[in-house]
Amino acid sequence: MRKFFNKNPYLMFLLPGIIVYSVFVVYPILSAGYISFFQWNGYGPKEYVGLQNYKDLFTNSNLMSQLGNALKNCLTIFFLSVIIMMPIQIIMAYTIHSKARGSSFFQVAVFSPQFISTPVIVFIFTLLFDGSFGIVNKVLRETGFGNLARPWMGIPEYGIYVIWFMMTWAGMGVGMVYFIGAMKMISGEMIESAYVDGAGFWKRLWYIVIPQIKGTIFNLILTSYIISMTIFDFNYILGGSGGGISGSVDTLALMFYRTAFGENSPLGGKVSVNAMGMGTTIACVLFLMVFVVAICQIVLMFRTKKED
């Protein structure tokens, strides 16, 4: 053993991290995977059912429709984030990086919502958009457009977009800071020569900056994917564990939550015979969805780096 560690001394440095990671990350994941092979209500004895929970999840029409709807909502948030939010973050980051007038104030202002917790963010938006006391509706009524006043936060058709908008408002600054960090790594001379050659703001951004921050863009796409697939808090606050009317704001994490823990109700109810078994099955499927994409993206990124 000593010989082995003498030959590979770096393992001694890695070992504590690996052990802590295994205990706090790998073990819970494997344990959840283990429970997913059982029928279990969370209280009594477990009954081994093999892959039956997975089979049920993908063959039961009700579960499948919930899963499909939740996945659709998660992907909607992801695509909106990548297509709309990310370009705005890059532009804002470059504006700040270019030291435009007032950029420091702008940076703080955009980043500050990050310090606000989710319930408070929802409350702020409620103050703005509530049907009875929201400022937006008050303005509409005062200006003669009272017929347009609506409880905007709760309209089922807009639900997932409202969630995305609040997430974007709160998280805009984080991605922006990452991009600013990446832009700081770009050689100033390169930008200056492009400037001297007559490249304007947009050309410099498109031809110089974006190719140089490709790695960060990849990383943030992956992060957005993980956040979108695992989002819970905004949706729970706005739509409850049921995920809103017709699952308008349902997500995979919410589906796991209501399956595993049921819908809390002062009216009582019945503990599902397979609450924990099916709940952990959903959690494992969600984990695989994130894990596989993350691995693909990391491989792709390494290949791109190698080619570069």
Partner: protein, 439 residues
């Protein structure tokens, strides 16, 4: 060299201790790894928190109150706990508003239940599941006098004649609260039949008032109206489902669905009910923007600053219908692993005492089901004027479910919201509902 050995040994011991700490299995063979955050949180509140202060022999009991009801019951429990501590100088109550269904489930799986925690009795199967698996302390030894309580209350607290939670002393249900000033303005009387109820709504609507503030956005929010209507339309069907039998004639269920839909189609709940939640509806009603609201008697306090009255929802037969449901305000269970069963027993016996009931009633007036408490609040007195105690639709559907069907979930998450928004016709909603119940 020696130093190296010492360092290696220290590292090995530390890592072994860490692994042992994380790898310890709960007694209940849970293996619950998915709720790591909650588990970590709940572990802080284990039965170990029952500490005996060696100096003055004081016992501290950790009690988990119902997280979602803190605003409602906080004052009452502050007074109840104070009174209990006064009578039992050696026992301190560490009352935390951290009990939720999730935290209790995780606590069970991690073997870290607090000494005492809120319970829904037989309204939920979790008490019987916990009892069957040995997590609960039997209380017959401590709660000895149950003669004051009606049979329903006793059934609520027992599994196979063993008491597992303090007994409920109150009854609450969803009534129709109404704005007395608005009713007076249009000279409206409290309706005695469903048709009179619709007439009242029509008059209010014709006068530009919103007859009913209704929050349809949350699954429980949208439930209250049809939950209140259900006993008036399909009581016998619900009794049949409750007995585990099937029904062949769904005409009463259809009528209930049709009248619910017709009520909404008539605009009596306005136009934006699907986008409003219960809090919005309550706010609207409290601010005079809705003449009525279907809400629980326990929420009467929300409307204290207005001139409010209430009535049980009227059926077509002219009877006022309530829905069964002992109040869980005072019902608490105890962990079988508490190190202080005597103190726990005293506390739960106190919660089942007239003194605790009176304190609760003074703070949150409800309909008493035990003798010795007189209703003085006119609104609660009106709520107690029901003719029929009907079934609780959600409870009935929950218990009608089996391995293959979950009618309560289907009803609240699919049938009802889509019936409400018109996405399903009454026929479609009924077919789905029926199929699930017949699985």
């Amino acid at each position: 060299m020696k130093m190296k050995k010492i360092k290696m040994m220290t590292l090995t011991v530390t890592l072994t201790a860490l692994l042992m700490a994380c790898g310890s299995k709960p007694a209940a063979d849970s293996g619950a790894a998915s709720g790591t955050d909650s588990a970590a949180q709940t572990q802080d509140n284990t039965q170990n928190s029952v500490k005996e202060d060696k100096e003055d022999k004081e016992v501290t009991l950790t009690v988990w109150g119902e997280e979602g009801q803190q605003a409602l019951y906080a004052d009452a429990f502050a007074e109840i706990n104070e009174a209990f501590e006064k009578q039992n100088p050696g026992i301190k109550i560490n009352y935390q508003w951290s009990g939720s269904f999730d935290s209790l489930t995780v606590a069970v799986q991690t073997d870290s239940l607090p000494d005492v925690f809120f319970s829904q009795g037989n309204k939920n199967t979790s008490m019987s599941e916990m009892a069957a698996n040995g997590y609960l302390l039997p209380l017959n030894e401590y709660i000895t006098d149950t003669s004051r309580f009606p049979e329903d209350a006793y059934d609520y607290a027992t599994v196979d004649d063993v008491i597992y939670c303090s007994l409920p002393a109150f009854f609450d249900y969803a009534v129709v609260f109404y704005n007395v000033d608005t009713f007076d303005k249009y000279e409206l009387a409290v309706p005695k039949t469903w048709d009179e109820f619709l007439d009242v709504c029509k008059v209010l609507q014709d006068n530009g008032e919103l007859p009913m503030a209704y929050g349809g956005n949350g699954w429980l929010d949208r439930y209250w109206l049809i939950g209140a209507m259900a006993p008036a339309y399909m009581e016998s069907e619900m009794v049949t489902w409750n007995e585990g039998a099937e029904i062949s004639d769904y005409s009463n269920v259809r009528e209930c669905f049709e009248d619910y839909r017709a009520f909404l189609d008539a605009g009596y709940a306005g136009t934006d009910y699907a986008a409003s939640d219960m809090a919005s509806a309550q706010l609207s009603f409290a601010n005079g923007q809705g003449a009525m609201i279907v809400d629980g008697t326990w929420n009467k306090g929300l409307y204290e600053n207005m001139n409010v009255g209430c009535f049980p929802i009227p059926g077509k037969d002219g009877k006022g219908y309530s829905q069964t449901g002992p109040s869980q305000s005072l019902t608490y269970s105890a962990s079988a692993k508490t190190t202080e069963p005597e103190a726990v027993g005293k506390y739960l016996a106190f919660l089942s005492s007239e003194e605790a009931e009176q304190i609760m009633f003074d703070h949150v007036p409800s309909i008493p089901i035990v003798d010795g408490i007189t209703i003085t609040d006119p609104v609660i007195a009106a709520a107690a004027e029901y003719d029929v105690i009907g079934q609780n639709l959600f409870g009935v559907l929950s218990f009608a479910g089996n391995e293959n069907s979950q009618p309560a979930d289907l009803f609240t998450n699919d049938v009802l919201p889509k019936l409400m928004t018109g996405e399903y016709t009454v026929d479609e909603a009924l077919d789905l509902f029926r199929q699930e119940l017949e699985k």
